[in-house]
């Protein structure tokens, strides 16, 4: 710190003799101690290096090693080149998990985006009271901690006392009497989709709604004067305006559903069988339950690589939005 203070003081010895502070005048072309910005960002950079980059490098390293429980304890892991990746990529089960991950993501994201857009359009058309009510409900669902929501959904779908089974049975679907949702693969998969959609729609809907409020009303009026139908107006006026934010939310939801872990781990542990195992669950199972840290790391790195592809999309979007702000 002291070196920072000294330098400008030396450079501007007579410029401001009255001021006790050694810091230079604002906007002076040669500007503040050059080290200041670096000092201000140093904690961030150090934190990122140690807490993010270093673990990532270790993960890459482990994925190229023979790293099991023995190596974890004794720390004498050997490099085995691409062996882990070869094991992984020739495993039919792994590809089944990859396929399921994309299916899970696609179903979730489509449902989230469609429902969120509809909800946003509804909010926009409501009066002030209705709008506040819907927004408050969305915020409450959004604020529900992931784990509390997961626990509640387990209770809603409880085979004996769950209200979902009771409702379905009362509506005449007798086959749902004591239906064990978590014992059937597709049923457990469905519950997880419902849970994740329920958790994700609020954020998407609120963000899309705030985008909708930026559409100029004159555009709507002139479109209506031209006799355009509601779907036509949405396609030609509304959607083009909100497209940047829509794409942003879309990419974020892709990333988030791709990374879904807690809900699945707590609710089904990936089961029954493999029915709800997606990539993050597979990686943790392989690493921590079967103690194949090397294979688990390799699976994580494949996940990261797949997500990086999505990230490229995300950043293109981000930069288009940020533009010159950077």
């Amino acid at each position: 710190m002291s070196t920072v203070r000294d330098r400008p003081a030396k450079r501007l010895p007579d410029a401001r003799p009255v001021r006790r502070s050694a810091r230079p005048a604002p906007g002076s072309p040669r500007t503040p101690g050059r080290a200041w910005p670096y000092l201000l960002v140093a904690p961030t950079v150090l934190g990122m290096l140690y807490l993010l980059v270093y673990p990532l490098a270790r993960a890459v390293l482990i994925s190229f090693q023979d790293f099991r429980l023995r190596q974890l304890i004794r720390g004498d892991a050997e490099f085995v080149g691409l062996r882990n990746y070869r094991t992984l990529l020739t495993d039919a089960r792994f590809w089944e998990v990859v396929r399921r991950t994309f299916l899970f993501m696609a179903i979730n994201v489509v449902l989230i985006m469609v429902l969120a857009t509809l909800v946003a359009l509804v909010i926009e058309r409501l009066g002030r009271v209705g709008r506040t009510a819907v927004l408050s409900a969305l915020v409450l669902a959004w604020a529900m901690p992931v784990l509390a929501a997961t626990t509640v959904f387990q209770w809603l779908f409880h085979s004996e006392f769950g209200i979902v089974n009771w409702t379905l049975t009362s509506l005449g679907f007798e086959s749902f009497d004591r239906y064990p949702w978590f014992a059937h693969g597709p049923a457990a998969f469905t519950i997880l989709v419902v849970l994740i959609v329920w958790q994700s729609v609020p954020f998407a809907a609120v963000t899309l709604y705030s985008a909708l409020t930026t559409v100029p009303t004159e555009l709507y009026e002139s479109a209506r004067l031209d006799g355009a139908s509601a779907p036509r107006i949405f396609r030609s006026v509304t959607f083009p305006t909100i497209r940047p934010i829509f794409m942003l939310v879309f990419s974020l939801e892709v990333i988030w559903t791709f990374k879904a872990f807690v809900q699945i781990w707590v609710m089904t542990n990936g089961g029954p069988g493999d029915a709800t195992t997606i990539l993050p669950v597979y990686a943790v199972q392989t690493a921590l339950s079967s103690q194949r840290y090397d294979l688990g790391s390799a699976a994580s790195m494949v996940t990261v690589a797949l997500m990086a592809a999505v990230l490229v999309l995300y950043f293109r979007q981000m930069f288009r939005q940020e533009g010159e702000a950077l």
Partner: protein
Amino acid sequence: MRSARVRLRRLPLHIAAGLTIAVCLFPVYWMVTTAFKPNRDIQSDTPQLLPQTWTLDHFRTAVHADGFGLFWRNSILVTLGAVLLALVVALGAAFAVARMRWRGRRQFVLMVFIAQMAPWEALIIPVYIISRDTGMLDRLPTLTLIYFMMTLPFTIVVLRGFIAAIPPELEEAAQVDGCTRGGAFRHIAFPLLAPGLMATSLFGYITAWNEFTYANFLIIKHQDSRTLPVWLSSFQNVFGTDWGATMAASTLFALPALAVFLLLQRHVTSGFAAGAVKG
């Protein structure tokens, strides 16, 4: 006549709005009411929308469960620590990015954006190994540091936006009047930053309060360092199949988040839309 027709035309809209509210709130409602129902209502063949008789038994069970107070303390300590650390570090970085010109600034911003998408789920194994090798396993500061890192990039991005929105002339005027650069920032910009600080600390609070994976896999031997989410996830062992106690525990766990969000709703919606990022 006309207004009736308008009302009829708007009926589908209101049905849709009502449906949205019901779907959003029902799980929350069901959690809270179940927590107040006596066991015979919970395990009845016809679910009751409202408890026939209200009982606090389940809350008592949850509160008296082993380590409940301790896990609350842990969660609060870790959350507060992570949020405060992220705010302090992010404020400096955001200020440097928004107000200063320096080499590497663009690269730094790019790095922050990338870090925002960090694949935390994929880092659990190396973080476990690094923590073990440095003797940080089973310790709360480890969780604090990780949650700090999880929330830091978002905090920087949002604060940078807020700082950039404050005209630098305001601070310059204060500096001309004899304030130091730091003083100008503290007296002029800082108060204007309050909504941004609120939105970001809320985000950090939710992330840290919620985090389960790292808390679950890094706190293994030392059960006294567990946090509430982990405790809640093990409810089946703690309470057997006591769904009343489970829902009471979930309610207690969710309540702080629900209350804070509802109180700050306006800041939440605008702040998040500005940052457009969840986690």
